[in-house]
């Protein structure tokens, strides 16, 4: 009964989303206030019914209702509760439902927090989001219904893929989707601006808040995924340039460009068209990501087996959304206007250059991700583009961007003097270069890439510090007190930029100094890796809730003093009879120790993988700092100011 209720709620949600788009958009076109209000109410109703459907599916998993095909394929009665619940998005149908539910949630939030926007603009925004909801709800109902019954019911479920039975499964997908789908608000904003033919600073400020929230979620979501891959896949990598990772990274790059471009639009009334285009692009890439991941064209943990109809549906939908938005852009762009002018050397021009670099970086990633798929689709053979391509290309593309990042925070709006800038920053530059050149020697290995990575990180830190002390000098109070007194948006910028530096340090150190060793070990053996002694004490069998584990016991010492005890596991999940490696990681500020078990080789011996990963935690810490920077910026009071003037203008 409950699954049918869920199914019915989804149908109602689809009808309501049609009403949402129809009433809001026609109301906005004809200036019909009543229609627009109906559209907004429909959007709220749509949220309620999509939410009900989502809860119904969750209940089916909770109650182990194996008469529902989707539950039977992705759960099992022995599966612990938290994984049963996260199994809701463990397969194709459920993750599409999560997508739609997230969209409905964002739409609901927009209807609540957009009261001060002009009525017509607001209606167009919500109407556009309604169009997207229609697409996804129709997709779920016609090709991926999670409520399909399985008759006769299965005795027990086929279980969730053991790879997904991890705390990461509980928060990675929802957070990532909040980010992906959150760009739909920026998209709706761009479409509304194009339809209305104008874009004010006030609206840009409003959108900036929403885009920043979405970007924060995306940043954190990607970081979660990366961390998860690091400890779960058993070989210690944190980023594989896997097509699915790229699918989330491309919208992130464009989203990062967008929040900077929105800053210019808000402050200087410039970059208007560029902002609109980026907003369209960011969401289009989110959709492209959804297509890549959900259509089954990719080979990865994230791609579920699917039938080609689904891929085709998403592809057509993608074409309609992107094509429609771009056509609208081509027709209406001249009416929005370019916005304010600026000099060749100015904060605007630096930001614009960095924006272009971000787009170029996204393009480079896209080339490497899509080209093999195109060749395959055209039947021209199977090729793969490996991490070496991305590594070689991505670094040189980002270097100028990082350099400009340091300069841009000093440049004045509209017009800045390059010589004065260079003079101001000569010490920052000198210190960065000297330290970057010398530090690797101290650490025992010098390569150009390590020096370059350190230079980039140091440049960000030193320029940020110089900038900060300039700001603080102007204030009377003590340093700390005056830092707290600075505008939140400025603090957020500094924290986020320092996050980039921390991230770069992590990447540079891991790439430069990691030690990896695969070896054969018997109980009693000791291996010395990177100055640590790993003593293999033995292995014993431990039953888990739905698996059997062989748990190794390692004692790690350094110069005779104990460092850690590590217990990596090899698990055999009983339902799917699938082996899984659970690495043991001892996290540290400057070093992670990583031990994972391979397979038994010979009587007592095991293949053992031991890694030393220097500064690897800094990678995720850096991402968290970027997100924290976004959060600080959101606290800036100017985003909460309800501008009366806008409301009057809107009414007029």
């Amino acid at each position: 009964m409950i699954p049918e209720l869920g199914h019915f709620a989804l149908i109602l949600a689809l009808l309501l989303s049609v009403a949402q788009a129809g009433f809001a958009l026609t109301g906005a076109a004809g200036g019909n206030s009543a229609f627009m209000t109906v559209g907004i109410s429909a959007a709220r109703g749509q949220f309620i019914f999509t939410g009900i459907a989502f809860l119904c599916l969750g209940y089916a998993f909770y109650a182990n209702d194996f008469s529902v095909l989707y539950v039977a394929s992705n759960s099992n009665s022995a599966l612990p509760l938290q994984y049963r619940l996260s199994a809701v998005w463990g397969g194709h149908e459920g993750s599409m439902l999560l997508w739609t539910t997230t969209l409905a949630l964002w739409t609901m939030a927009v209807t609540i927090f957009s009261r001060h926007l002009p009525e017509v603009f607001r209606a167009r925004l919500i109407g556009t989001m309604g169009l997207i909801s229609i697409g996804f709800l129709a997709f779920i109902l016609f090709s991926s219904n999670p409520f399909d019954r399985l008759i006769p019911a299965a005795l027990d479920g086929r279980d969730l893929n053991p790879l997904l039975q991890d705390p990461g499964m509980v928060y990675h997908p929802p957070v990532l989707y909040m980010g992906y789908v959150g760009f739909s608000v920026a998209f709706g904003f761009a479409i509304a601006a194009l339809l209305g033919g104008e874009l004010t600073q006030e609206w840009a400020r409003w959108t900036r808040t929403w885009t920043t929230v979405a970007w924060m979620f995306l940043t954190v979501g990607i970081a979660f995924g990366s961390k998860w891959a690091y400890y779960e896949l058993g070989w210690g990598g944190w980023w594989f340039w896997d097509a699915v990772e790229n699918a989330s990274f491309m919208p992130w790059l464009v989203g990062t460009a967008l929040i900077h471009s929105l800053a210019v639009t808000e402050k200087r009334d410039a970059f208007k068209l560029w902002t609109v285009l980026l907003a369209i692009l960011a969401f289009s890439l989110s959709l492209l990501g959804t297509f890549l991941v959900r259509s089954g064209v990719l080979t990865s943990v994230h791609a579920f087996a699917t039938d080609p109809r689904r891929g085709l549906f998403i592809l057509v939908f993608l074409g309609l959304v992107v094509g429609g938005a771009l056509i609208l852009f081509a027709i209406r762009a001249p009416r929005v206007g370019l916005g304010g002018k600026f000099g060749m050397v100015s904060r605007e021009s630096f930001l614009l250059t960095n924006n272009v670099i971000m787009i170029a970086a996204a393009g480079v990633v896209m080339l490497g991700t899509l080209y093999p798929l195109f060749l395959d689709a055209l039947g021209m053979g199977k090729i793969s583009v490996g991490p070496p391509y991305f590594d070689t290309v991505f670094v040189p593309v980002m270097v100028p961007a990082i350099f400009l990042m340091g300069l841009a925070i000093f440049a004045r709006w509209k017009n800045a003097e390059l010589p004065a800038l260079m003079l101001r920053l000569k010490w920052a530059f000198a210190i960065s270069v000297v330290t970057a050149l010398l530090l690797p020697f101290v650490m025992g290995k010098w390569t150009p890439l390590i020096a370059l990575g350190l230079l980039m990180a140091l440049w960000i830190v030193t320029t940020a510090m110089v900038n900060l002390s300039d700001r603080l000098k102007k204030r009377e109070a003590g340093r700390l007190k005056s830092f707290i007194g600075l505008p939140r948006a400025y603090q957020g910028m500094i924290v986020a930029h320092l996050g980039v530096a921390v991230f770069i340090v992590g990447v540079t150190m891991v790439k430069g100094y990691e030690v990896e060793k695969d070896m054969r070990m018997s109980p009693g053996d000791t291996a010395n890796v990177g100055g640590y002694d790993f003593h293999f004490d033995g292995i014993k069998e431990e039953p888990g809730p739905n698996y059997m584990a062989a748990r190794g016991h390692f004692t790690i010492t350094r110069n005779g003093s104990p460092v850690a005890v590590m217990e990596p596991e090899k698990r055999m999940y009983t339902v799917q009879s699938m082996p899984m490696t659970e690495a043991a990681i001892s996290e540290g500020f400057t070093n992670d120790l990583y031990v994972s078990l391979g397979e038994p080789v010979g009587e007592q011996a095991w293949a053992v993988r031991i890694y030393i990963k220097p500064f690897v935690q800094w990678i995720w810490a850096g991402c968290m700092m970027m997100a924290a920077g976004g959060f600080l910026a959101l606290l800036d009071p100017r985003y909460r100011r309800r501008n009366k003037k806008t409301m009057e203008e809107g009414a007029a």
């Binding site: 087996a305 199977k382 070496p388 009879s577 699938m578 391979g598 993988r609």
Partner: protein, 158 residues
């Protein structure tokens, strides 16, 4: 210089920069493409020696041999028509099994032995790596149903 000239110079500079960047990207792209060959193609000497490529197929039953004192693994990969010998040193992925699909990346030696530096296996019991499936399909031995996949690199030796 007039401002008009300045602008032209700037645009010119921009175009040159974009051109160089594009050339570098495409060059890096071309030199990092990894092509795929089936065991039959390798047997017919269609595969290059000295450059890295991928092979796919099934791990032949009973062919996996571990060295006594190292992590060297020998096995044969077959597309049911032809077989080839593969050597890999390191930890094999969890789902590497005799009789199951596998994809390996590495170089073909003069002796005809394929030295793999990466071995990929599937991620789930029900699926087969697409390259492996492709190899079997070309050899005409594939049951349609096993054509989809979930793979992720699980074993890489740097």
């Amino acid at each position: 210089m007039k401002s008009r000239h300045k602008r032209f110079a700037l645009i010119g500079f921009g175009l040159v920069a974009i051109g160089i960047a594009a050339a570098l990207v495409l060059n890096a792209f071309r030199s990092n493409l990894v092509f795929f060959y089936t065991p039959t193609q390798v047997a017919n000497h269609e595969a290059p020696t000295g450059t890295s490529f991928r092979i796919g197929g099934l791990v032949e039953q009973g062919s996996l041999k571990r060295a006594e004192n190292s992590l060297d693994a020998h096995f044969f990969v077959t597309d049911t028509a032809k077989r080839m010998e593969v050597v890999y040193s390191g930890i094999l992925p969890d789902l590497f099994k005799e009789g199951k699909g596998v994809v390996a990346q590495g170089k073909l030696g003069e002796d005809g032995i394929f030295r793999a530096d990466t071995v990929l296996a599937k991620h789930d019991e029900n699926y087969m790596p697409p390259e492996a499936a492709e190899a079997l399909k070309q050899a005409g031995a594939l049951n349609e149903k096993t054509g989809k996949t979930l793979v992720t690199p699980q074993s890489t030796k740097q």
